[in-house]
Symmetry: C2
Subunit: 320 residues, 2 copies
Amino acid sequence: MASLNLINAAAARLAGHSRRTPLLNAPLLDRVAGRRVFVKAECLQWTGSFKFRGGWSAVSALTPDQRARGVIAFSSGNHAQGVALAAARHGAPCTILMPADAPGVKIDNTRAYGATVVLYDRARQDRDALGAALAANHGLTLIRPYDDPQVIAGQASVGLEIAEQATEAGVTTADVLTCCGGGGLTAGIALALAAHAPGLRVRPAEPEGFDDTARSLATGTRQRNATLSGSICDAIVTPTPGDLTFPILQRLCGPGLVVTEDQVLRAMALAFAHLRIVVEPGGAVALAAALFSSDLPETVICTASGGNVDPGIFARALAA
Amino acid sequence: MASLNLINAAAARLAGHSRRTPLLNAPLLDRVAGRRVFVKAECLQWTGSFKFRGGWSAVSALTPDQRARGVIAFSSGNHAQGVALAAARHGAPCTILMPADAPGVKIDNTRAYGATVVLYDRARQDRDALGAALAANHGLTLIRPYDDPQVIAGQASVGLEIAEQATEAGVTTADVLTCCGGGGLTAGIALALAAHAPGLRVRPAEPEGFDDTARSLATGTRQRNATLSGSICDAIVTPTPGDLTFPILQRLCGPGLVVTEDQVLRAMALAFAHLRIVVEPGGAVALAAALFSSDLPETVICTASGGNVDPGIFARALAA
């Protein structure tokens, strides 16, 4: 199968460059959940999210000539930082298109990872046209956040590690809950587990009101979110499941899970108290589902997919 | 050397039971520090601190008969939780003596790990006499927090892992900064590194006003702290270096480092932002020294020795 070859090749390129993040658990967290909960702590990955894997996979798959010309990505968040650091470590020029009203710390961090940040006016400029023009003029390769086979193959390395670490922990049967936006991480993990740990079933988790994937899986056709703003889980809010990712999810995943914003904040506070990791709201959706959903087996594995969170929002979670 | 045999035997007993915590670093943290900083994230250890290692080492070194009678420890903090979980996993009864005014969450957590918590009145009861009576009546073995060869040998496993992980990261020469209270962790790491990574020199870090170890190393005789209260770094405040630990520190460590409370809070916030780990004040002292001291080499490794922190204090660090 083509995708498995891509996954194995991406894993080989990532070896020694991405961090093998720990699969954490804690007796006191299991007590709260009433089940065994393992957390794949991708917030400890380079740049604070799994996005570094997809970025590295994509950049490392380019020809030397493509790399020398450089890459471009559209993102104000984790994808931007993941691609920026991956490109920098390959010596590839990197341009990131960000809205001018993005938080200053995200712009600063993306620049600190070595990218050239181009700001645009959300209200007055067409991002896609601007990006296409930049890419054409400079011969840049666009790295999409999830609808790219090399990006999905990179995120699949999370699944390969979960398969190994579950075996080390003696777990052969479990639901694996993923924080799901466009579906790159979910599709990648699902492909890896289908090949290496068939007893582990993937289920995407989403915030209430932004559950396009759950509804798409339930109805069999791709659904859209009514709005894209207003969620604290901004990192995983996308209009609709991806062209490439949705057929994979349909084939391999169980039903989606939906959590409330309050559950997400409580999950962040419990990860703070019992695992001592920093998880951002969009990265805590799967843990919230693991802790607070009723429709789950005795053992659950979930991704803590990112940890880039505004201190104010984190303090709000701690106070909740 | 007797201590190396103890260390190797403790490591063998810990294998598969303690967590091999990651050695983290981040490009943006290095920028702040102006040097390369690696962080041994013991906040990700079972019970949220390195103390689980010493507890496990001590409990697992007992005879079956001693284990069946049980263990006792005096602590309101990380040592209590480490010993409690280690004992529970050995099926050994565990009694923890805690002051009645200890934070409720610490008492609850220690009970949740399976220990019998005996509360005493700090003002009216003599803790040592009470503990001695309990130990004598029930045949319990006392596990001291640092002045115990098996506890030091257990903490030394942090040093064995640092030696391996530094090699993996290509680091052969560095200062290794430790959060230092009674000196169990510092002595253990120093013994392990002297044997396995002679290019790595240990230096204890302490909070301003509670720098008994730095002053003891500087003067060559054990100094005492003027007071034991009033520090946010309560986890590492002890009256004076240990009987067993100080001679080891004197033989193997470089000069101590002292940091301010404000630097500790800033280190906690930077670990939040760039490493996405939760570090308690006493566990952030070495990172604060790594980030803000001038008298350091190009590469520094430091322990983030614990992550059990009150949400209010953590929020204060984020707001600073």
